[in-house]
Subunit: 344 residues, 2 copies
DNA sequence: GCATATCGTGGCAGCGCTAACATCAACATG
DNA sequence: CATGTTGATGTTAGCGCTGCCACGATATGC
C-alpha cells in the first residue's frame, strides 16, 4: 500500500535519512534489538510514522530467512468442526503477529497432502498447521519428510508432529454416561465415517463406557456426518422396538435422525433420547433442542499456534523454550431437551 | 522444503551449474520466456527435476515486485454463505496458480477494514478479495484509498471496485413468485439484519414481486440469520391467523421458524408454506425438507478470481485485457416439501 | 592513569531472484 | 563483403532487508 498521495512507498532508507541514522539502526528499532538509545529509537519511530513506512515482508523474509506467515492445510468442506478450527487458528495466528495462508486438500491422500504442503512451502511459510481429521491425511502427514515446523489438528497424538485435538473419548463418555444416568440400558451409536480419527475416539468412548457399566454395545451404525445419513440410520432404528437412546456422532446426523423418528411417530425425547456432538449454532433450535457435546475450537486454534510457534522457535538458535501446550482440549456436555429417562 | 537428505535446498545457481548455463537462462525457462532453445530448455528442466528445485517465492517477489498470493478479507463467522465463498475463492485461486492468504474482520467497520487490508498489504499480496456482506464493510472498502487491485463479494456493484454477487433480487423474486404461484395472496418476509447488503436485495425482490402482483406487503420482520431469530419470528407469526406463506431470509431462520410453528401445532406446509435461502446441506433433511433458493458460491469464487486477475493485469504493462466477468451470479429455486397451496 | 569491557552505531555483504543491457554467433540484406 | 537483424545466451545491477563485523565512545577494572 503506497503512502497517500506519493509516488512510491517509503523504504527503510527513506526512514533512515529522515531520522538521520543508518538504515541498519532503523532495522534494529523495528526488530526490538536492545542496543539502540531511547532517543534514537524515538526519532526513528517518528520518521516511520511520518512516512507511513511499512516494512516489506518479502525483503525481510529473504534476508532473514524466515517469514511471518503460517500455512494451514484445510479440508475442502464447510463441516462445522474444520471450518471453526480454521477460524480459531486465524484468530490465534493474527494475535501472534502471523499471517495465515490456506490450502484446501482436494483429495485426502498422500499425493493430495504432498501437493498441499508443497503449495505452502512455495509460499515460504514459517510453519504449517494441518487440519487432518481423516486417518489417510494423518498417515500421509506422518509419512512425509517435511522440512517445516508442523502441527496437526485431530491427528494421532504421539507421532513426531505435535497434535492438538479435542478429547473425543471423553466427549463420547460424557454423552453415554449422561444417557446411562437417565436410566437407559442400551445406547446405540451412529458413528461418523470410519476413516475419520474423531470417529474412532467417539466409538472407543462409547464402547468403553458401556463396558464399564457392564452393558453390551448394540451393533454400531456408520454414517458420513450428513443429515441424510442420520436420516437413513434413523429409518433403520425406527423399525426396531428396542431403541430408547442414541448417541449420534455429530449434530447434523442427530438432526436427520430426528426427522426420521418424527416421520415414524417416534417422539424425542419421550420415546427415544438423542445426544449429538459439536454443538452447532442450530442445535439449540431443533425440535426438540439438541443435547450435545460442545467442542471449543477457539481453544484448539490457540493451542495449535502455541505449539507451532514452539516448533518454529525450536529451529531457531535463540529459542526461549516455551512449554508445550496440553494436546487435549476438554469437551463439555450441553444439556437441552432431546434426552429424558426411558418410559416404564 | 529441503530436497530429501541434503543440507540445503537447491537454488537457481545450482540448477544453472548442473545444466551448464547461466542462472538467467534458468530464470527464462521457468518464466516461459520465448527465446530459449528447446535443447537448453530440456537440459534445464532436467536439472530442475534432478535437484528437486523449487523457486523461492520471496526472492521472486522481491526482484519482480509482484507476488503470487492473493489476500481474502473474510468475515469472522461460519455462516454458510461467507464460508462457502471463501472455499470457492481458494479453489479458483489455486487453479490460477495463486496462493490465498486470509484475514478475518474482527469488527465490521472502517478501522477493522483498514487493519485487515494493512495486514494483507504487509504480506505483499498481489490483490485482495473482500467478502463484505455488510453495508458498513462495503462502505469502508469504497472509502479507502487502497493501493492494490481489489474485488468485492456481495458489495454494491458499480463502484470503483469490481463486485461479484449472487443476484439477490432475482432470488427473492423466485421465492415469492413460487409462493404466489401456489395461490398464496399474502407472503411474509423475515429478513436478515438490516446492515447486510443481501438483506436489502431480498427485501427489494420480495416487495417488488408483491407489487407487480398488485398485492400489499405485510409488515417486514427482521432477524439476524440465526435459527434463534427465526424461532422468535415464528412465535410472533404463530399468534396470527393470517399467515399462510413466509419467505425466510436464509435457511437457518427458516429452520427456527419451523420449530416455532411445530411447537404451536402449525403444520408445514399444510398450514403455512416456508421458503428459505442458501440451500445449506441440511435443508434437504429438515422436517419437512426445505424449499429454498440455491446460491452457487463456487461460481462466485471463480468470477472473483477472474475479475481480480483482470485488475492485477491491468496494472501490468503486458496486460492482455481479459473480459470482465458478469458480476451477477444467478440463483435457482430448489423445490422440496415445505411449500404447498393454501388450504381452502 | 591505562587497559579492557560494553554500548550505540555504521559499513559491507549477501539472501535468491528478475530486468535491462551486453554479447556473440548465425543469417539476411544491399 | 560491410552492415543490419535476429535469436540465444551471459553479465551486471539491483529489489529491501538482516547478519555480522568493525569502529569510536563511553563506562569499569586495577
Amino acid at each position: 500500500m503506497r503512502p497517500t498521495s506519493q509516488g512510491r512507498a517509503a523504504v527503510m532508507n527513506d526512514v533512515a535519512r529522515l531520522a538521520g541514522v543508518s538504515h541498519q539502526t532503523v532495522s534494529r528499532v523495528l526488530n526490538q534489538h536492545p542496543s539502540v538509545s531511547p532517543a534514537t529509537r524515538e526519532r526513528v519511530l517518528e520518521a516511520v510514522r511520518q512516512l507511513n513506512y511499512r516494512p516489506n515482508a518479502m525483503a525481510r523474509g529473504l534476508a532473514g530467512r524466515r517469514s511471518r506467515v503460517i500455512g494451514v492445510v484445510s479440508f475442502d468442506t464447510i463441516l462445522y468442526g474444520p471450518a471453526s478450527t480454521l477460524l480459531g487458528i486465524e484468530r490465534a495466528a493474527r494475535a501472534a503477529g502471523y499471517g495465515v495462508s490456506i490450502v484446501t486438500l482436494e483429495q485426502v491422500d498422500h499425493s493430495g497432502m504432498v501437493s498441499a504442503l508443497e503449495a505452502l512451502a512455495d509460499q515460504s511459510v514459517a510453519g504449517v498447521v494441518v487440519i487432518a481429521p481423516q486417518t489417510a491425511a494423518a498417515a500421509a502427514l506422518h509419512s512425509l519428510p517435511l522440512g517445516v515446523a508442523a502441527v496437526a489438528v485431530e491427528a494421532v497424538v504421539g507421532g513426531e508432529i505435535p497434535a492438538i485435538s479435542v478429547d473425543q473419548v471423553t466427549g463420547a463418555r460424557l454423552a453415554v454416561q449422561h444417557l446411562l444416568g437417565l436410566g437407559h440400558r442400551k445406547v446405540w451409536h451412529l458413528s461418523g465415517p470410519r476413516d475419520w480419527l474423531e470417529t474412532h475416539g467417539r466409538i472407543e468412548g462409547w464402547r468403553g463406557t458401556l463396558e464399564d457399566a457392564g452393558l453390551p454395545a448394540p451393533p454400531l451404525m456408520t454414517g458420513d456426518w450428513s443429515a441424510r445419513s442420520g436420516y437413513q440410520a434413523g429409518l433403520e432404528l425406527a423399525r426396531r422396538d428396542d431403541v430408547t437412546a442414541v448417541f449420534a456422532g455429530n449434530d447434523q446426523m442427530a438432526l436427520g435422525m430426528m426427522r426420521a423418528f418424527h416421520e415414524h411417530g417416534i417422539r424425542v425425547p419421550d420415546d427415544v433420547s438423542i445426544v449429538g456432538f459439536d454443538d452447532i449454532p442450530e442445535a439449540e433450535f431443533l425440535s426438540p433442542p439438541l443435547t450435545t457435546i460442545r467442542q471449543d475450537f477457539d481453544e484448539v486454534g490457540r493451542r495449535c499456534i502455541a505449539a507451532l510457534l514452539r516448533a518454529i522457535e525450536a529451529d531457531l538458535p535463540e529459542g526461549p523454550d516455551r512449554p508445550a501446550p496440553d494436546p487435549h482440549v476438554a469437551p463439555t456436555l450441553v444439556l437441552r431437551r432431546s434426552t429424558a429417562a426411558p418410559k416404564g
